[in-house]
Symmetry: none
Subunit: 141 residues, 4 copies
């Protein structure tokens, strides 16, 4: 199952909407496919210019490793040099904190990931989940 | 003048719509701000996974050099080694063909760029222009 | 609001002057625009050859993240692996310590950043602020 | 002999001034030292954001190879793949066209280089020479 552009749009809109409802700073949201490639992205007005790379790094690391942001953060806390090395291996495109959320199909296969950045990592992840659920998909924080 | 997310969405939707009307292959469309940073991106269903980087390279080179895709292509045809060197200088993020379209404000200042990829370069550029015009902005192909 | 070259020169001159008044080691000062691109740079006689990259990294990280050097340093102290990953994401161009000072306009929007390096980070930041204030702008350390 | 910051400023000011006198597009000018490291840089108002990298690439290639822009261009025309490989070897930081001007001392030793970009390459080089001569130094186009 691929994530259609229609669904990617729903994920992004709902994640941004959730951020506004929660009173968060302006968010940036990316949706990647099962190969870790960009499907869609939006950066809210007022967000810093470099936010694409952060959102992307969260989602990209999640797909590449098959490990969501929370698990990556735990690994980074236990073994910082390992995640630093992973960052190098993937050309810098890994941000190992919450806000990188895996999308799984009904059988549990990873079909993509969402990356959200702009506020505290846990709140970023909450917004990603809101988007994923609005699209009728299952997320793993 | 910055390009708001609302306008970036209009540009992308209209560019994709134009592509469908013209019967083109599935397009990918990126909108960059005046600093060459990603504002929004969408990849139509059926487009190849690597299309983000092509759309981005078209628009990024245009902003960085202040030179739209058509002018870059002419330079590449006249002096291929120059555009090859420019590609190196910008870390590979330059695709010197039409489809990288500058957005200018009323005084002529560059406020961003649109990158479209997926079909023939000239047709890609035509779709970028359709999006820019729908957003009430002025494009330079 | 863009930072004119005239203002960038004022910032650099006053920052260098402040460093001499304080008896600091030779400083290097960069001014970046709102997109993180170099507007002007000067390296005082006697400064080490690699100081451009340090000054640039301080200011570049600040613009890209919308977070000044002091806030970046706090984050690095709380969560070192996060700032290490951010460094990777931005191709190494991030130095998360004071001396990377954001410039904001009257409404609070980031319009650029100053990076100063050469002496202790806090003193570097003080010189950046002296330059920014001399140019009639508002800095965030 | 090192190029003092005072001299670097003179070079930049005079090169920019020459460009205005000649009615050229807004220029960007970098001065590098004998090790190829940035001493000073200014980007005129209205120049595209990515001009630092182009000016730098012109001057950096000149110092690294000990070969000014005109000689590099000849080599690129004769043997494009060689200059493409040189670009790769130096991490992309080489633009082999006029506007990268070597600075030599009285004995002929290279003490730095000036890189100018913004208009036609030959005109860029003319402005670099104007700056170098105003500083009492000897340039090689």
């Amino acid at each position: 199952m691929a994530i259609s552009l229609r669904r990617a749009r729903t994920i992004i809109r709902k994640a941004l909407e959730k951020g506004r409802e929660m009173g968060l700073k302006p968010l940036s949201v990316v949706v990647l496919d099962a190969g870790g490639h960009v499907q869609a992205f939006e950066r809210a007005d007022g967000a810093a210019p470099g936010r694409f790379a952060i959102a992307h790094g969260k989602a990209h690391g999640a797909v590449m490793l098959g490990m969501a942001g929370t698990a990556q953060m735990k690994r980074a806390e236990d073994q910082a040099y390992f995640m630093a090395a992973v960052n190098g291996v993937y050309g810098g495109k890994v941000i190992p904190v919450p806000g990188g959320v895996l999308i799984r199909d009904r059988r549990g296969a990873v079909v993509g990931a969402v990356g959200v950045t702009g506020d505290a990592s846990e709140k970023d992840a909450e917004c990603a989940m809101a988007g994923i659920e609005a699209a009728g998909l299952q997320g793993e924080i």
